[in-house]
Symmetry: C2
Subunit: 227 residues, 2 copies
């Protein structure tokens, strides 16, 4: 019976790929690749190509447009699930690749549920999250002993104010457009020197630097506040 | 010049080892292995032996006794750092292995600082955290879209009460002895059916089950509360 592998490929560096991910890719007939738009490049596919020859595999694009419209998102998820289930029904093993870890801010849940509801076997292969990769590159410990960590998406960066006293570490994901706002909140707490911005970890344009005013970053940006 | 690699080997399954971890092990002359007591087995060493032949490597035990006494802890950390720095001074590459990810509840910070202070080059290799492995095995998403996650150590499980309304997901690490207390807090919030206990993920005695009353688990136990 065909099997569905939902594979975390880690942050931007091919060296973050696990042995389990490689084995799932080997078993797969089809590698399913989420893209924003058909024909556009996939960072996850670029990562696995650093370490795995995809030439003998069929590449199946799944379009997930960046949209805040619920209807558009539902339609694209439905279409992706349908493509995958149809291939599984035809006896093909599929590995769907995702940046980072599948359980952390990926959009895979809908597809997972659909695959399970259709009665197919599924395995999720963990990946290195961007915040672990960032902390390790910056040589910061996220937590030790009795410490706690909050992981919040940038959209909720206002909550930074709320959590700052309770948590030893706050990780703000997808923070590229909000570093200025985050800087200002931190400054009010005297913590503007306690935050590191990491962007595109493991990629060519990787950047790790102290947070600063009036700067914007791209999509793959994480801020780690540690005090 | 000799280099120090601090290597996360992931949770209990050898398949969680990354390509980067394997390469660091290959480059190492010495594999440094934290143990509770000299001669005792090391889970991290058992994991890498599933996928890597350690026969040609020197194994260096670092004793980190489980102790709440600050002085004992300081002494063992100091002794570990000294052994490592001495080997690096002698031109040996060292890979120190740690379960999960190095930045998440490991006790490596002291050694990292000492190695850097001694002027040696250091690289941290990220690993799969137990909570990602647990979520993926249980097929739960830790966070999606606008959701937030709190990661707390069991010692602070009283904070569960405090965070339960604010966070979509709460991960309680090292929760083996506290699942009963956690169950009772969850029950007060009508959330006793929203928590999964995972223990020894990827190991022979792996266990994933709904939280329940009057049960204790071992050291490698994580509770994920999701609502």
């Amino acid at each position: 019976m065909a099997k569905f592998y939902s594979v975390g490929v880690g942050a931007g560096d091919g060296s973050y790929i696990t042995l389990g991910a490689l084995r799932a890719l080997e078993k797969a007939d089809i590698i399913a690749v989420p893209v924003k738009k058909s024909g556009e490049k996939s960072t996850a596919l670029e990562i696995i190509r650093k370490e795995f020859d995809t030439d003998k595999k069929e590449i199946l694009e799944l379009e997930f447009p960046m949209s805040s419209d619920d209807k558009t998102r539902q339609l694209s998820r439905g279409a992706a699930a349908e493509k995958i289930i149809s291939a599984l029904d035809n006896g093909k093993n599929i590995a769907m690749i995702t940046l980072g870890d599948v359980s952390v801010y990926s959009t895979c849940s809908y597809v997972h549920k659909a695959v399970k509801d259709a009665g197919h076997e599924m395995e999720i292969i963990p990946g290195i999250t961007s915040f672990c990769a960032a902390a390790d590159k910056a040589q910061i410990s996220l937590c030790e002993g009795n410490e706690s960590v909050a992981i919040i998406p940038s959209l909720k960066s206002a909550n930074l104010e709320k959590y700052i006293d309770d948590f030893d570490t706050i990780v703000i994901m997808k923070a590229g457009k909000d570093t200025d706002a985050i800087y200002n909140i931190l400054k009010r707490h005297g913590l503007e020197h306690n935050a590191v911005v990491s962007s595109c970890i493991g990629m060519e344009n990787e950047l790790i630097e102290p947070i600063q005013r009036h700067k914007e970053y791209g999509y793959f940006t994480t801020v780690i506040v540690k005090h």
